[in-house]
Subunit: 278 residues, 2 copies
């Protein structure tokens, strides 16, 4: 059990000192949710095996009173199993199943595309000693030069923003993905947004994005955990002439978004679909 309420946390940051990895961000929030203090071991992308004494090539990793725990989901399961009397990260098994489904949508829809929009910024912002590794490994993963991959992002960013509507839907009806209190579902989805703030030199979300309220409330949690001074501005996305709306206006919402409260609530739609073609 954690000595002095403290758990050792292996961080992964840019040269500006803010955490980078979405999974490391989510894990940092998870540890704070359980009420722990962190003994942070700082560092970048290279040297993880050396820093962890050969325990892992990837982060997050934690050490709780001598016990190593790896993997973002592995850590969450460990924390809830070991400390069930502290606030639960996953209050019901259904929350785990649904968060995994949502996460498996979130990565190909937004996180991967954002990574491709900011891959050269990311390299520019990492520690000097990480630059060669980051450049070579990412160019290998992506199959092209970082500058080529990043080029044209001004056209892609509004499309990514438009594609994340399912989050806006859920958060228009609930304060948190966790309901009335945040839980690991919030932190898991937030992680990539804080990654974006860590590596993105250009805003990826509209000034008036309806997600802004939830994101800013998440950043305020645990004494402003998501407010490191190294982070960049998230809001102020520029949409080029003819580009898509970066989010769906409330007033356009119909169909499955609209509740049936009786014939008055469906009349306009009925009139539209039954009107004879002229």
């Amino acid at each position: 059990m954690a000595q002095n309420n403290t758990i050792t946390f292996y961080d992964l940051t840019m040269a500006h000192g803010a955490t980078t990895s979405p999974f490391v961000w989510a894990t940092k929030y998870a540890l704070k949710h359980k009420g722990f203090d962190l003994d942070v071991v700082p560092g970048g992308f290279t040297g993880i095996m050396e820093r962890t004494g050969g325990k892992t090539e990837r982060l997050p990793a934690i050490v709780d009173d001598g016990k190593w725990v790896l993997d973002s989901w592995g850590i969450v399961e460990y924390l809830d199993e070991t400390y069930p009397d502290r606030p639960m990260l996953i209050p019901h098994e259904s929350v785990a199943a649904l968060t995994k489904a949502l996460d498996a949508w979130w990565w190909p829809t937004a996180v991967g595309p954002w990574m491709r929009c900011f891959c050269a910024d990311y390299r520019d912002l990492c520690f000097e000693h990480d630059k060669e590794y980051v450049t070579a490994s990412r160019e290998k993963m992506l199959g092209m030069k970082l500058e080529e991959m990043q080029a044209g992002r001004e056209n892609r960013l509004p499309q990514i923003s438009a594609a994340i509507e399912p989050l806006r839907k859920a958060l228009s009806e609930h304060k948190w993905l966790g309901g009335s209190e945040p839980n690991y579902a919030d932190y898991r989805i937030l992680g990539p947004i804080l990654f974006l703030a860590s590596v993105g030199k250009q805003p990826a979300l509209a000034e008036d994005d309806p997600l802004r309220d939830w994101i800013e409330r998440c950043r305020d949690l645990f004494g402003g955990l998501g407010r490191h001074p190294g982070l960049h501005e998230l809001y102020g996305l520029h949409v080029p002439e003819g580009g898509p709306e970066p989010y769906m206006r409330e007033s356009w919402r119909g169909g499955i978004y609209k509740r049936n409260t009786g014939p008055e609530s469906t009349r306009a739609e009925t009139e539209f679909i039954t009107k004879r073609a002229e």
Copy 2:
């Protein structure tokens, strides 16, 4: 409170007698989950206002001991609030928030595209007296002839199947979206799959789709509620030459799908990304 444990349920079916609407399917499962018997009022798309005495233009609708309750989410909230001692449909508010997010992904990704692939089948299978209304209203919504919209579906169906990977991810690790027991998250996502079985004359899912096990277990619930003889075969999707794989093979899963259990588990990826270009 429900007399004789029975709630009146306004159904919406095709001529073959099986329920059509995804929302009506989800609601039927929800009522059975709460342990109620159903007094079913059958019917098709036209005449809903007449059947319900002017209470609603849309279904689902239920009457519980004289009290009308409308709207699929409205009914679920009513059932859990009114009958909290029966199995909960939404066991935690986070399940509602996450199900809404997943549903807001599911509709534009799969349900809408499936509707466009089967819109002429749907018209052919509805009651004779519904055909004129279904044709006119759907052509108005879609902005074209049903046959034109449906054409070319053999190329679209494998893409839709490939796009629903997030569900496969969640259900590869959990028995139900509800965890160890099904809840409304399962029924909400299942509804459109049973809609597909109701209206689709061609299979939309691969013979060996990993979702098949979950779908068939859902169909078995409540005495085989999802096994009406009017339903069509879901499995046996034909993928044209050069078409996409209809689902991701387990063996291809890496990245966020793979757990870090130490350096052995990440070595292959590390070797790949650090190998020098030849």
